[in-house]
Amino acid sequence: MKQTQKYFPLIPLFAAYLFMFLLAENKEGMWQLMSMLLFYCALGQAFNVFMGMTGYVDFGYVAFMGVGTYGMALSITRLVQYEFLGAWILVIGFGLAMAMSTLLSMAVGAVALRLRGAYFAIATIGVNEGFRFLIEGARIWNGSEGMIFTADLNKILGRETAAALCTYWADIMVLAIAALAGFVSLVYMRSKIGYALTALREDEDAAKVMGINVTKFKIIAFITSACLAGLLGATAWALKTPYVFPPEVFDIHYTIEAIIIVMLGGAGTLLGPLVGGLVYGISKYYLSIFLPGFQLLIFAPVILVIIVLFPEGIVGMLKAKTKGTGMERFVI
């Protein structure tokens, strides 16, 4: 495969994101739906980096988004007094969000990634709850009261810029994270990391015997995925809605949604999270109008059917369909 052709699948991915952005820009009343769809696509893309590529499922994934939210919240509330920092506070916030989610993922990974399959899932299932109860129980970072920092954000950026950040720029940043996560996924897929992870997903013992350092590659995927989640929490939660409450940012609901999106679209594919995010987001949007609160009741059996009958997901099936045609190099 030629060097440039390797990155062809990014064309449909980025085209879709660009189309979504232009549609939201130009069509009245679309922005809200689009910001939700972008959030789900970004969530799926970030989650897919680990779950899709390794075949390990991290039930505590939302914890990384939670600590990312706290990273941004802490730098805003603690640094607001240093006025000379100005908008750099947000940059520091992103750095802190990434650092905190990376640290947590290293701590969890150090225990969980030594374990296989079922034991891994058991080790991760309590991470979000555990972290939430640590914050609430030890009353760190304001404990269960959480933090509201709308006023601090206004002070840093001025009222108008802050409002524009919450309603417009935060969504653009989510779009950027979705694109970044897609790009990183493809770079991984097309490099040694991706091949190693595919081998590991298919047969971990065989991969080990062939001399692949499976632990190393698992850790790379785990930390990357966690770091992206931290960024997503810092933008989609901390900047878009400038407050943080432990029960909300550590809610397992978001892990459920990430699993639905990735399985629906196709685990381990590049376009899967995009397709899954769109299908899930649009259905959720219309279900919340016609049948509010029913989306999980509908999606839980859908996921069961997918796991039993179509484990490769929508894009996985498309991939099989386009095999041998000219479209092949765009769909992955």
């Binding site: 299932i125 555990g130 059996p301």
Partner: protein
């Protein structure tokens, strides 16, 4: 004063721990036989709790009678889920069963929410209490504890004395070997899965005696986590290990609560929940095969 309080809490811990243990036996049984981790475990406990609530509040049926009812309902649910999903996924990668049991849990939660709504509920079964000097124990909790021990003993005898029990034990040892000896392994899987779910739903009945107003469609998540801690304490694949793991966990939970309450400025209840997560990670780190199990 401190020791009285600690002693009282530890007695409560043993009583609760027996029920915790019984609530985890189903998880361990299913993992031991099918090698399937039931990530939706807590949702089945929640179903049992709602069944008790419904039988007690609407039909006036005594919670003790709810135990066999819940067990039968649970076995039915187990059979349905086994034949519709789990059976087809036994040979698939582990990811499939993890996601499937997780989705089953979400499905049950949403179904119950649809029927009963999402507010916290409870019921009040007044059967008196006994005063032990250092602590007062409601009779309902004592009944739950006795019920748990009885069920555990019955399960033990069933495994040891009946043909079906021996068949399942042989499948745990070596499913290929069992197949060669003429045991219908598929049937042993179905029976173990439905038995495990039945035990779990029945344990939901017993747990309601400890949560006066805590019945809610999403209550299961906390019990899933606790059940994993307990199961891992007891070695994950052994139902009896799980029972003793439950006793240990009940003691740890209530003992640590007493200690945390002495630290100023913290919320002791939240910290006990955090502690259970830490225990889980520590056990998995040092000895994933279980603390209580002899090598």
């Amino acid at each position: 004063m401190f020791f009285e309080q600690l002693g009282g809490n530890l007695i409560q811990g043993i009583v609760l721990g027996a029920v915790y243990g019984m609530a985890t036996m189903g998880l361990s049984l299913i993992f031991g036989v099918l090698k399937v981790v039931n990530v939706g475990h807590g949702a089945f406990i929640m179903v049992g709790a709602f069944l008790t609530l419904f039988l007690f509040s609407s039909l006036g049926i005594n919670p003790i009678i709810a135990i066999p009812v819940a067990f039968i309902v649970g076995m039915g649910l187990g059979l349905i889920f086994y034949y519709t999903t789990i059976r087809k996924l036994i040979k698939a990668p582990e990811l499939a069963t993890l996601l499937a049991t997780f989705s089953i849990g979400v499905l049950l939660e949403e179904l119950v929410k649809l029927i009963f709504g999402s507010e916290f509920r409870g019921y009040n079964w007044v059967v008196g209490k006994i005063d032990l000097g250092i602590t007062v124990l409601p009779m309902s909790k004592l009944y739950a504890c006795i019920g748990s021990v009885l069920i555990a003993v019955l399960l033990y005898l069933w495994f040891k004395k009946t043909r079906a029990g021996s068949a399942i034990r042989s499948v745990v040892e070596d499913s290929e070997g069992a197949r060669v000896c003429g045991i219908n392994v598929g049937w042993a899987y179905a029976l173990s899965f439905s038995l495990g779910i039945g035990l779990t739903v029945a344990s939901g009945v017993l747990l309601t005696m400890f949560i006066p107003v805590g019945i809610n469609p999403y209550m299961g998540g906390a019990y899933t986590l606790k059940a994993f801690v307990i199961a891992v304490l007891g070695g994950l694949a052994s139902p009896y290990g799980a029972f003793f793991g439950g006793l240990v966990f009940g003691l740890i939970e209530n003992g640590s609560y007493t200690l945390f309450a002495y630290i100023p400025g913290v919320e002791p209840f939240a910290l006990t929940r955090f502690l259970s997560f830490v225990i889980l990670l520590v056990i998995l780190l040092i000895r994933p095969t279980g603390i209580l199990r002899a090598k």
